[in-house]
Symmetry: C2
Subunit: 308 residues, 2 copies
């Protein structure tokens, strides 16, 4: 395990992060932009160039494996992308196995980015030593992943454990962008903020979570009210995740966690009140790796594959 040389690619919404691992150590990362205008094959060419650079800098002849963290639903058995962020839409028809075999003569594994991040938090972050974990990521949308008895939950069509943001918490409420009614995202995500802002008399044309929490800290009543709704929605969503998967700990991540000091104690309070856990209390913890959890997670998954 110590000397495996792996390349991990985390396909983020706005940029791709490429990491070079020597064993379990992340030696270097490189960020390239994700261009929706161009075909996925061009992005692959950019990735190829970066891998060539890594190999040159570290005097590496052979790569032991490539791991790809994907913002969408992916068939991890065949490495086929089933459904993805529109930025990478033509990756659905791209043959990733052929690329890794022909260009790099190595094996490839793929995983949903939230599952990869949870794996990273489990191995080296906020989930260390805990084999039953749920992660919820609060940002543009609400993402997540689930670990049961030390195994990532996938489900028949690879969408189990990561759709918590689309649990209905308001069954007679607003339509979500997924087509469902009253998903948690409709009451607590970046895309839904303008709607919440309008309903609560927010004075400006724009709103994001940083502005919202700043205004709340300044005591603006409309901000206080929107924050209350968001935290209630995130907590209801987390209670549903706890009732669904029976974890020991829930890890909360995502951009909004810059205001963890406000968010975590309030969520903890609501969750302790509303979750049915006769065995004790679920532990709520902030994610420890904002940016590199998925890289570490994929590297661990790749080691599991290579070593076995």
């Amino acid at each position: 395990m110590v000397n495996k040389k792996n390349i991990i690619i985390d396909m983020g919404g706005t940029r791709l992060k490429i990491g070079f691992f020597d064993g379990l150590r992340l030696m270097e990362t490189k960020i390239i932009s994700a261009c929706s205008q161009e075909a996925f094959v061009h992005t692959i060419h950019k990735i190829d160039a970066e891998i060539t650079n890594f190999c040159r800098s570290f005097h590496i002849g052979t790569i032991d494996g490539i791991g790809l963290s994907i913002p969408g639903i992916v068939d991890t058995k065949t490495n086929r992308v089933i459904s993805i962020n529109k930025k990478y839409s033509d990756s659905v028809t791209f043959d990733l196995n052929q690329w890794s075999a022909n260009t790099w003569n190595t094996i490839l594994i793929t995983e949903n980015d939230s599952r990869a991040a949870l794996m990273g938090e489990w191995k080296v972050g906020a989930g260390k030593g805990i084999d039953n974990l749920v992660m919820i990521t609060l940002g543009t949308g609400i993402g997540g992943a689930t670990l049961i008895e030390g195994k990532l939950l996938h489900g028949k069509h690879f969408q189990a454990g990561c759709l918590g943001g689309h649990f209905c918490i308001d069954f007679q409420g607003e339509q979500c962008n997924c087509g469902n009614k009253g998903c948690a995202e409709t009451k607590g995500s970046l895309w839904a903020l303008p709607i919440l802002a309008k309903e609560n008399g927010w004075p400006d044309d724009t709103i994001d979570f940083e502005q919202l929490f700043n205004a709340m800290r300044a005591g603006k009543p409309e901000a206080v009210s929107i924050v209350r709704t968001c935290i209630e929605a995130w907590s209801a969503c987390t209670v549903n995740l706890i009732h669904a998967y029976d974890p020991e700990r829930v890890i909360v991540g995502g951009g909004v966690m810059k205001s963890a000091d406000v968010i975590l104690p309030r969520m903890e309070n609501l969750i302790n009140r509303y979750a049915w856990t006769p065995w004790g209390k679920v532990d709520l913890k902030a994610a420890e790796f904002g940016d590199t959890a998925a890289l570490y997670g994929m590297n661990y998954l790749l080691h599991e594959k290579i070593i076995v």
Copy 2:
């Protein structure tokens, strides 16, 4: 497997059902009442008497195993009852292992009753051949269980997969009897019907699902409205179960399914509209064994244990 002689006990809310199996065949069942007034040890004495009768009638010297289906949360590794319907409250301190070993010199397995019923439906009922199943049972409350890749989902504290009725679907709604807010049960269970009746101007003092569906069929507007709310709640709950566990099929059971002709097509319609399943459509099917699913299921689980 063919000639194993097993005793299965299904501890129902109002009565206990005891079944004698020869291999996979249910040879005879006996029903005894569950008396909350008396200690659990008295119920055990009644069970002992029935087992003695079975052994006498079928000329059996040795029982190969006992399976106990329990209306509560049970630690299936140690056969310890964690939380249970108050009718059996002192079963929590009763040593079931000692009983089966000392009195019957045989092994014992336990399981939550909803999981046992799902196992039965999977092996011989509405779930045959489908390894990724969710069951939802609509009645006094909303029960359920989950099978993923042919394995019952338990979770760390044995409460995963069976708390769908306590998924929040109305985060700013009424308090549930579990302490949570806006659980599916608050909008679609026998215990919540009097509340829904009051809100909708139901004219009588009493209400149950049979009365409700009869009134709906007779075109009474208040009944139409309550039925609509219940079906919306059951559908939202099922969508959440689909988003949580990614099954191929959902089996719907419980007392209200006497009106399956009204319920199933409407739920199917809402679920097809609201569930996010890019791979196709989740199959919705009525449970096939109302009364004996848990007996068959426990017998299968017992065989698995004995044969291995």
